[in-house]
């Protein structure tokens, strides 16, 4: 009697879950069914009762859904640090995708605003200044971060080498005829900077936020400016061509002695969340060792009109 009641309850669960009928197909993973008829993820949380997980082979656990990074979902920007859930190198299926990640000190994520040229809602699109309120260590990256305040808002940005509390930094999107005398920490479009300046936090596409040169102590060099595009040398000596309206910050990224640090012991690596590598001897397949080869051709992130389009 309890069994029949349970079976009735099981059928009820599958019906209300919005899944298709399972009776004809016997063994069916409810997770697959849930995914195929998927609405926003939130409606299918929390998971079904796992106490009846192996009932007639009907797997009702949706525990793998919990491997999704739901803590990252946040639409409003905030300077408050957010609690992170560590993945241990596992992906949404639960298997290890990247080895050597796991453990380490607890970290809180501070949302960094990589789009430096972001005007305050309600303000006109004009160059603006901000004041540095605090420069601090960020556990989630090698560089230090700075809390800057301007107008009515505060945000976190990647700090440059000599940023001090109380400095004023300028952000502008204007490209004038004359090159601007670049002050460290200011952000200008590449077209406004003189050739040869050290830059960091470079945008690859205008307005999409800084993607390149964000690590501690790195800096790129503005090599030349050619007809609406600018050519930059990245820290890996690769050269790229980007639109001259892409905004970059002037100077080197903070924490310049990051590459000179000595870990000292295995424990410190474990504190950083780096697990030991496999001890298995693996025959070198040509991947190890120093390679000396010519630079790859310059990558262009600008869609220049091709010859065929003109004809």
């Amino acid at each position: 009697m309890a069994v029949s009641a349970l079976s009735r309850a099981m059928r009820a669960i599958t019906l209300t879950g919005g899944c298709k009928q399972v009776s004809s197909q016997g063994l069916l993973c409810s997770r697959v069914v849930a995914e195929s008829s998927r609405a926003p993820a939130a409606s299918l949380l929390p998971s079904f009762n796992s106490a009846v997980s192996q009932w007639r082979g009907l797997l009702t656990t949706v525990c793998l859904e919990q491997n999704k990074t739901y803590w990252k979902v946040r639409d409003k920007y905030t300077i408050r640090p957010i609690g992170m859930k560590k993945t241990g190198g596992r992906d949404w299926t639960g298997k290890v995708r990247t080895h050597g990640i796991g453990g380490g000190h607890k970290q809180r994520h501070r949302i960094i605003d990589f789009q430096r040229l972001r005007y305050e809602p309600g303000n006109e699109p004009q160059p603006f200044e901000e004041r540095i309120v605090e420069v601090r260590y960020d556990p989630c990256r090698s560089a230090d971060i700075a809390l800057v305040a301007g107008g009515n808002r505060k945000r976190w940005i990647i700090a440059t080498e000599n940023m001090e509390v109380g400095d004023l930094i300028k952000t502008s999107g204007v490209i004038g005829r004359m090159a601007v005398s670049a002050k460290e920490g200011d952000a200008h479009p590449l077209g406004a900077l003189p050739v040869g300046t050290l830059i960091n936090n470079l945008e690859l596409f205008p307005g999409k936020g800084a993607k390149a040169i964000r690590a501690a102590g790195t800096s790129g060099v503005l090599l030349r400016k050619v007809s609406g595009t600018a050519i930059v040398q990245l820290p890996s000596k690769h050269q790229i061509q980007v639109s001259e309206t892409c905004v970059a910050t002037v100077g080197r990224v903070s924490n310049i002695d990051h590459n000179k640090r000595i870990i000292g012991k295995a424990g410190r690596n474990r504190w950083l969340g780096i697990r030991p590598s496999s001890g298995l001897w693996q025959r070198k397949g040509g991947w190890a060792g120093r390679k000396i080869r010519p630079l790859p051709p310059m990558k262009s992130y600008v869609n220049l009109p091709s010859v065929s389009a003109q004809t």
Partner: protein, 429 residues
């Protein structure tokens, strides 16, 4: 026993192929394989060991206005070829508080296009007192007005055995109030404040006018004013308010008030003075003292705050000034009307805040309710900070076998309580 799951699995593999793509089957069979009870599926075919490929994005459904969507909604079951029906959201016609979804801000009754900046109990101003001076159009004077200092030094106003009784109160709050080693700040700070207020209140036999006072707490204040183009509001519960039947006399005379017109308000470019205030579009413009109009004690006398965080004293002082201003503005509007004007009889409000050891004294004199422009007569703020005692340690601080700070109460400052008492007696002596 073993065979059954394998057969079923093979059936499913074929069955599932038309349900979902092959990369899906890999992941689902992976789940079946390593479940809670171990490996149930012993097959080692490639479909089971496959890597979980990333999911493909679902086909984008294009909506063409004017074209009617023929869906299988009427048939009540899936029909291949017909569109998936999109049902409208069901709105229940009954009220269920556990499943209540609040409307969007734009749909709320009090939504306004122009936003407003609100200061409340939880606000922590970045620039501290400088910001409040701009927001309340005030001028800061360090120190306490001479009238209250005279009261503090007057020996006739002292309590008998004052120092001993205050030290007892401190020891009670800091050491004796709990069976544990030391009470936390959330406990000793309000206990100390209540003990000191009780001590002051006992003087009613000497000064009968003290009977015309009433201490109230948990009242909600509302005050709103325009500062340039921005609307700024002070809302919420403040702290304990000592009400009295008679108003406090003005601290600064007319000449000093008029001379404040020459002082300028400090701005801190590039930061706006409204930073850290909650910017909100759903608000009600109202000025409310928190008490009814026929309340027997209409004049606010002193605001008491307890600060239960360690540090953040600048933000505490800013909070004191803002709430003192809010209360004063609400009372002034109730007395003299909502028109912005320079007050002939300034409204004076005192404020005392403590974190258990340090006492912040603030006297706020509201001279004008004309706050739209930056020039003109300004309001006045007197401010002072003093410790009541230096250390109240449970265990002595010993460095290199030398006692630096002894256990118990150390470094008692009698002036602080004299000022506290003067603040209390002011207006009734």
């Amino acid at each position: 026993m073993l065979k059954t799951p394998v057969h079923r699995c093979s059936a499913i593999t074929t069955g599932l192929k038309h349900l979902c793509v092959s990369n899906e089957s890999g992941s689902c069979l992976l789940m079946l394989r390593s479940g809670r009870h171990g490996n149930r599926l012993l097959s080692t075919s490639s479909s089971v060991c496959g890597k979980a490929l990333p999911r493909k994005k679902p086909r984008e459904v294009v909506e063409i206005s004017g074209l009617e969507n023929i869906s299988y909604a009427e048939r009540m079951h899936f029909v291949p070829g017909l569109a998936k029906p999109i049902f409208s959201v069901w709105k229940p016609d009954f009220k269920d508080p556990f499943h209540y979804k609040s409307p969007k801000p734009e749909e709320m009754a009090l939504y306004k296009d122009k936003s407003c900046y609100v200061f409340h109990q939880r606000t922590s101003l970045m620039e501290g007192v400088k910001q409040t001076l701009w927001l309340t159009k005030s001028k800061l004077i360090k120190g306490i007005p001479a009238q209250i200092m005279a009261l503090a030094d007057d020996p006739a106003c002292q309590i008998e055995n004052q120092d001993e009784r205050v030290q007892n109160a401190i020891k009670h709050a800091r050491f004796w109030d709990t069976t544990e080693t030391r009470p936390p700040r959330e406990r000793f700070c309000p206990t100390l404040l209540n003990s000191l207020l009780h001590l002051c209140g006992l003087q009613q036999f000497k000064h009968p006018a003290l009977g015309e006072r009433l201490l109230s707490r948990d009242y909600s204040l509302a005050a709103s004013w325009h500062r340039g183009e921005d609307l700024i509001q002070v809302r919420g519960k403040n702290g304990m308010l000592l009400n009295s039947k008679s108003p406090l006399p003005a601290m600064a005379d007319q000449e000093e008030v008029l001379s404040t017109a020459d002082s300028f308000l400090e701005t801190f470019y590039p930061i706006a003075p409204t930073i850290d205030l909650q910017n909100i579009n759903v608000y009600d413009v109202k000025t409310d003292t928190g008490f009814r109009e026929d309340y027997a004690y209409p004049h606010a006398h002193t605001l008491f705050f307890t600060h239960l965080k360690d540090g953040f004293l600048e933000q505490l002082r800013a909070k004191m000034v803002m709430f003192a201003f809010g209360n004063a503005l609400a009372r002034a509007r109730a007395l003299y009307g909502p028109e912005p004007q320079v007050l002939e009889k300034p409204v004076v409000l005192q404020s005392v805040a403590t974190n258990g050891r340090l006492f912040q004294f603030v006297v706020f004199q509201l001279n004008t309710t004309d706050l739209t422009t930056d020039n003109g007569v300004k309001n006045l703020v007197w401010m002072e900070e003093q410790p009541l005692y230096d250390f109240a340690k449970v265990r002595p601080l010993i460095k290199k076998k030398v006692v630096q700070v002894p256990a118990g109460l150390a470094g008692y400052h009698p002036d602080t309580f004299k000022k506290f008492l003067a603040f209390y007696l002011h207006g009734a002596v």
